[in-house]
Structures are given as structure tokens and as C-alpha cells.
């Protein structure tokens, strides 16, 4: 199933988790729980040691995953081991993509990603200006490359992304890094307006916490919602309290359902574009 297709019929719910957080086995269970809860696609973080675009919640998830032994090779195994039916997007930093394999550049990583069944990439520290080689490799192996549009992205930069983006566009709803916030940011509508005429689906992320929140975002025009920190919080809490994996998985599934339902409600509030 292609990434774009995940957004076809109804607003998509795209959750994020760091692979291997807090350990390999639990993490498999958690990702599968999200799928059960209604995920339309999943952003699966490959932990990098210097996650400069993440807020502290996700940064700590990454530290937990690295400490539990996550590596690039294990990540590919993890993807292969996952029993889910939705497209998986690899979210990571460029250095890991760049270093993989014997050949210089991103090609070996993308080839391997295609092999294990990943559908695309989000690379927060790779601006459109530097993305050429990765875009080419994605084209070669049939993967998507998602770009993040920030509230401050404008003009020429916006154009350069539009040319390269595929799968969906990740609309950053506020300034700053990832992390769950209470207030809905003011930027959502303005950002969506700026890319109104793009022909990829628009998924809004950064700071979505609840079903109601998801509803508002979708009713503001998003084709989907991306939720990371609010889910990672559940993993972190379960880890701290030593809760059983199934319990935590159940909480994630419930949360996923709440968010998906919110998104669906939001879609009801507005005329579908198609």
C-alpha cells in the first residue's frame, strides 16, 4: 500500500514511535498496537545519537532505545519482524542514512529499506537543498520522501520542497521541536493555506495530544494528523512504572483509537475536497 493511499478515503492517523523503545520486544508490541488502534501509516524512528529536531520526550525515547541496543541493522530486522498492515516511514537523521553500506551516499540504505518493506523517509535535518541524492535513490527504489514544512517556510524554499516531496507533506503546526503541547498552534491554518494547491496529502503534526485536538486540526483542513510525543509519553510512563507490556500496548491502542476517532470527527465537520 502506498503512502499517499493511506490518506485517500478519510483523514489519516500517522503515529510515531522510536523503534526499540524501551526494548526490542515491547517496541514491536507497541507499534502493532498502534496499527490495531487505527493507524493509517506509522513513522518509525531509527534512533540517532544527536536528535537535534526532537523535544525532550522523543529525545529520551531515543536514548532508551539506543541503550537497549538499537542499531541500524537491528532496525531493519525490527521492520521485517513487525506484523502490521500499514505503510512504514523511516524517520531518522541523515548521517545514519549517509553512512550505511560500502558505497558513498544514501543509495545502500534506501535499497535495504526497500528490501525490508519500508515505504518512505522523513529526515528532519535534511533540507530540500541537500536532498538530491536521497530523492534520486528513493526514485530508484520506489520509496517516498516526506518533507517537513515549517510555519516559517516560504517562497523559494517552499517551491524546492514541492518539487521533491512525495507520500505526504508533514506540516509543522508550530515553531520548535517535537513535543506534546496543550494549545493548538495558530500556524496550522496559515501553513495549510500556503500549500493548498500541492497535490500530496497534508499531514499536520507537532503537539497533538487528544482526540479533540485531532478533530480541530482535521477540521482546519488537514488530510491527516501526525502524533509522536503523546504516544511516547505512554511508553515512557509504562517503562518507569514497570507496567506489563500488554497493558502499555492496550493504552497505546486506546489512545490511537481516540486520536483516529477525533480525526474522523474533524473530517465530518468539513466538506471533503474530492
Amino acid at each position: 500500500m502506498s503512502l499517499e493511499a493511506s490518506f485517500a478515503d478519510e483523514p489519516a492517523f500517522v503515529p510515531y514511535l522510536a523503534a526499540g523503545d524501551p526494548d526490542y520486544e515491547s517496541s514491536l508490541a507497541y507499534v502493532e498496537a498502534l496499527a490495531r488502534g487505527g493507524a493509517d501509516a506509522i513513522e518509525l524512528g531509527l534512533p540517532f545519537s544527536e536528535p537535534i529536531a526532537e523535544g525532550s520526550t522523543i529525545q529520551e525515547a531515543i536514548v532508551r532505545a539506543l541503550e537497549a541496543g538499537m542499531t541500524v541493522d537491528r532496525y531493519f530486522e525490527f521492520v521485517a519482524d513487525l506484523d502490521v498492515d500499514v505503510p512504514l516511514v523511516c524517520m531518522t537523521y541523515y548521517n545514519l542514512i549517509y553512512q550505511y553500506g560500502d558505497e558513498q551516499g544514501p543509495r545502500p540504505f534506501v535499497r535495504k529499506a526497500a528490501e525490508v518493506g519500508l515505504s518512505g523517509f522523513v529526515v528532519p535535518d535534511l533540507p530540500a537543498e541537500e536532498a538530491g541524492p536521497l530523492r534520486d535513490a528513493c526514485d530508484e527504489f520506489g520509496l517516498d520522501l516526506v518533507f517537513i514544512v515549517a510555519p516559517t517556510t516560504e517562497g523559494e524554499r517552499l517551491e524546492r520542497m514541492r518539487e521533491q516531496v512525495s507520500g505526504y507533506v508533514y506540516v509543522q503546526a508550530r515553531l520548535g521541536t517535537t513535543g506534546a503541547r496543550d494549545e493548538v498552534s495558530d500556524y496550522t491554518e496559515r501553513s495549510l493555506a500556503r500549500i493548498e494547491d500541492w497535490d500530496v496529502p497534508k499531514a499536520v503534526g507537532f503537539g497533538i495530544k487528544s482526540g479533540d485536538h485531532a478533530e480541530r486540526i482535521v477540521s482546519a483542513g488537514a488530510d491527516g494528523i501526525i502524533v509522536g510525543s503523546a504516544l511516547v509519553d505512554i511508553v515512557a510512563e509504562g517503562h518507569e512504572n514497570d507496567d506489563a507490556t500488554e497493558e502499555v500496548a492496550q493504552r497505546l491502542e486506546d489512545k490511537a483509537r481516540e486520536l483516529k476517532q477525533g480525526a474522523l470527527r474533524g473530517a465530518g465537520d468539513r466538506p471533503r475536497v474530492e
Partner: protein
Amino acid sequence: MSTSKFGDYGGQYVPEALMPAIEELTDAYERYVLNNEDGFIDEFRQRMRDFGGRPTPLQYAEQLSARYDTDVYLKREDLLHGGAHKLNNALGQVLLAKYMGKERIIAETGAGQHGTATAMAAAHLDMPCVIYMGETDIARQRPNVFRIRINGAEVNPVTTGRGTLKEAISETMRDWATTVENTHYVIGSVVGPAPFPSMVRDFQALISEEAREQIQEQAGTLPDAVLACAGGGSNTMGTFHHFVDDSAVDLYAVEAGGSSLSVDEEAGVAPNSASLSTGEEGVLHGARTKVLQDTDGQIMESHSVSAGLDYAGVGPELAHLVDSGRVDPVNVDDDVALEAFHRLSQDEGVIPALETAHAFGYLEEHHDELGDTVVVNVSGRGDKDLETVIEETMERDLSIAPDMSIFREVGGGAL
């Protein structure tokens, strides 16, 4: 853009949210720094003179020259306000932030030197300032934390990860991503996304601008070799810049060899910070450069007895100058640096920073290959390192080190 790449190195690998700030900064850099718009550079130079203490002297080192039978000259950046070359950059950037209409300064710091310089510059220019510092570093760099606070800047403890420089940089980038509109991030070395590496180099290039004139005046000739220690590489690039076109002048970037040049992949630890000598091309903190990393591309934890060299990356321009053969990447280990620290203190009456001591360690070991006239940059003073040096010296039982039993005799403290 011309200022953004050095061969394949450099670039702008940053989150999208920062790109507008980076573009705004690039524009300001070109206008104010490169074209002296509104007299920016004039004001910068004047403040570096009156507030910073420039020009710093180029001192003929009598004892070392005799010892090595080579004319050794010291470029005395340790005499700069704050005690290190760091102010050249900090003052330049804070002033630029003022010209850009920013209202707030943020910076990361590891050993606290860059934080101190930034806090001083911000106080001088009346800008609110927040310094991010890992909590581990806060605990072990008390005097610099005091100085930062006393200059009126906030210190924001970073509690994630190991609580050291890497985490502080990431945290400062996070702050910036949230506050780009009114805030300038004063990065501490010639690292990070373009235009930082070029801009920081330009501010630091006062060092070689002066040194090149001074050496010709004093020695009547250009030097055969110029040495500077390299962490991120800002004092290095500052010391080299105006000599780069003098092809007869050999340039040595002296890195921290730590306890060993080998690497523990399993633990993700490189017991050194020799990114130029042993690092591989990679992307770190916004730029493509030479990086200490494992085969996956995860960044290693680096190590050096000198906190200021303890960084897993290095400036992209320096990486490029090394690849192109213009700069020699060399290194000395902790022991050699410590001995050099004591030697300079005892022989010349100049207590260098431990970072700086690496350059003198290389001089000691290779003086006979360096030619007749050598300039060494004294990037900072060693006051901040006294406790560390005493401890590390006692552990090693170095014969050159002065005996500290005075404290036992008077019963006044732990030593």
C-alpha cells in the same frame, strides 16, 4: 551559496524550522560582516580593541626558543578579555545580533569558556542571554558557571543524556527552533550550519591578521610553521586564515589524542577527540564534516583531558583544508599535553589553557621538523584548569610537575 561549502564539507543540515533564521543570518553576514554595512566591522574592531584588549601581543619566547634552537613566538590570545580567543567570536556574533534587531542571545557551552565569553559580550552590549550547559558540566565547571551568572546571564541546565556539550548543543538548537524570530544562537566554534563556519572564522581571523603583521615586523619574515590546537577549530582557523595563501607557511592543527587513538565501537567511545586525524566524513550539528562515529554513523563520545577540545566533530573548512593538504592534522596525547602545560608555565611564566598546551606538546615532540621560525597560538589561559591539572598530574606522577605538598603542610584542603 559561496560561503556555505568547503569542497564537499559544510552545508546546512538543520531542521526546516531553522532554515529561515539561517537565511536571515546569511543575509546579515554578507551585509554586515562581509560588506561592513552600517560600519559593523569598524564597530566590531573598535570594541575588540577597547573592551577586548586587541591587538594581543606576539611574544618572543626566550626559553623555548633556546630549548628548541628555533625562534618560537607566542600569539597571546590568553590576554583577551575573558581569558581566551572565544571573545572574538562571541562579541562579533552578539554585535551582529544587535544589528539584526534580535533581542535575545542563546549559546551552548561545555567547559564554560564560550558561555563565559558570550555572557560577557551580552552584558557589554546589554542583551539578555541564556546559556545551555549540561548538568554534569555545571557541576565540574563551577568557576565558569559563576562567571556566567555574575555577568547576569541565565544558565539553563541540560539534564538529558549525559549532561555534557553534545546535549547542550542539541538543546540550544531546540530553543532556537522555537524562538528564531527574536533570538540569535551564538555558536561557539567554526561548526554548525553555514554561514556559522565562515562567520566565526572571520571574527577569529583577527588573530592571524595581527600575527602575520607582527611576525614580519619582529622576525622580518613569515614563519615556517604556525601551530594551533583544534577542538571545533575556531582558534585554529582564526590563527591560520591569513596564512592560508602563504604556501611556504606550514599549518599544524593539533588535536587531542586523549589516552589513545583507537576506538571502542561497542561502547561508542573514542578516547580522544582527533576528528581531523581519525574521523570520517559525516553530518553533525548541521554540517558535513569529519566526525568521530561508529560504522552505523552514531556519534561517538569523545574524550580529552581538556574539556574544550572534547568534541566529536570539527569545522568543515578545516576538514577541507586537511583533505586538500594545506593543513597538517596532528595530535598529542593527554600526558604530552600535561607536560607541555607545566613546561610553558615554568619556562615562560605563561600558564596556558589545557587546550592550548596540546600545541606546545606538539612543538616539544616535533620542533626539529618545523623550521626556524614558529608561531604558536596561546588560545587561552589556564586558570580554569588548575584543579584538573593538579589532579591529573598527581595521578600520573609527572616529574616535571611542581610538588603540591604545600597544602598538606598547612593542612588547608584536600591536596
